[in-house]
């Protein structure tokens, strides 16, 4: 995991998330070579990966730009994510084992403990994001369809990942964990409809939380598409 492509990927990705590379800005391969201290080959690999994940827009013979997300795009991708997660949890509801149920339940208990005892808001957000990711990754694993779960990173609007880290407060985290617990109950009853409804609410709530927490930003002019 310490090879050049991953290094370039992580550095460029972090630069975008942190805002060092602003939306709409041209990304020069040569500049990334200097920034990451690797050659152009892994830089190009990283840009391709970031393009797949929606961080970057690439055009043939022209290069790459930091992708701008319109409000409409973010909303639509959230809707797509809700549908795909809905399918995932349907599969989970039919495939989950007792061991899987126990693991998910443990995750929600851990989360509850963190919510109850972690005082620092930043640390709370950090730990929430970690446990939250773990929970959803376990869902993908149980759904047991790599083709679908590999698609999910492409349905996580990049600006969201950034924003949520700062905007999650205790109530929001609490509600999220309640959703997870409802999911576990639905799984324990093998109730796919219930599970799907819960996870869709879960995603829609995340969208609203994102949207309302968004400052009205002035975006750089995106390249013509």
């Amino acid at each position: 995991m310490t090879n050049a492509s991953d290094i370039a990927y992580r550095i460029i990705r972090k630069s975008i998330i942190d805002g060092d590379l602003v939306q709409g800005e041209k990304i020069s391969e040569e500049a990334m070579v200097r920034l990451c201290d690797v050659s152009r080959t892994p830089v190009r690999d990283a840009l391709r990966q970031l393009s797949f994940e929606g961080y970057v827009l690439q055009r043939k013979n022209q290069g790459a730009w930091v992708k701008s997300w319109s409000d409409e795009e973010v909303k639509e991708v959230y809707e797509a994510r809700a549908r795909m997660e809905g399918l995932i949890v349907r599969l989970v509801a039919t495939k989950i084992s007792d061991a899987g149920l126990a693991k998910l339940a443990t995750n929600t208990d851990d989360m509850a403990r963190v919510i109850a005892h972690e005082q620092d808001p930043l640390a709370l957000a950090e730990r929430f994001l970690g446990l939250n990711r773990e929970f959803h990754d376990q869902l993908y694993e149980i759904a047991n369809n790599p083709r679908l779960s590999d698609l999910m990173p492409a349905l996580s609007p990049p600006p969201v990942v950034h924003k949520t880290a700062k905007n999650f407060n205790r109530d929001r985290v609490q509600q999220s964990n309640e959703d997870h617990r409802a999911l576990v109950r639905a799984f324990s009853k093998s109730d796919a409809n219930w599970a799907e409804s819960v996870v869709k609410s879960h995603i829609y709530a995340a969208y609203v939380s994102y949207r309302d927490g968004m400052p009205t930003t002035v975006m750089a002019t995106p390249p013509l598409e």
Copy 2:
């Protein structure tokens, strides 16, 4: 359109779809260099792209293999496709213009003419696939969310593309075009629910047609689970 990366991408993709590269087989970069008559750099680009789209599996320092599909995976990916196409046409129903409507209608008329006059079954299949792709590409364009439409290739099970090319007969093509016409009517009424229902039936029918390896005259099929 005629650059080395695309050439390699298309040739390798076609080899997988046509079965020249069988599921589970190791893909040697050097072999692809000889097959595509380009250097290793564009071959590597192509393999990475195909990895995004689920055609090949890549492992660090080990190379690439043709990814195999289980029956379960195919079924689940069809379900995912139905959901995503359902969202796409909802967006179309709210965004389409009169010009867009006319273009789609023209496509269905062309298709009807082909069905009526093309005698050779192979030519019929060819022309159907071309017009069908055109129709769906127009939907993606009208939906106007590149982020979502770029993901659709990853939801096209490779073995299916192959099978349908040989299995589409006149009835199946006819039914498909009726679905398209129903879609256009739904769009003209800006009826997103109608459009979504139609396209889901459309995809489910395609799945059943694939699964049974024979045409189906039934339009409404039960949910996949």
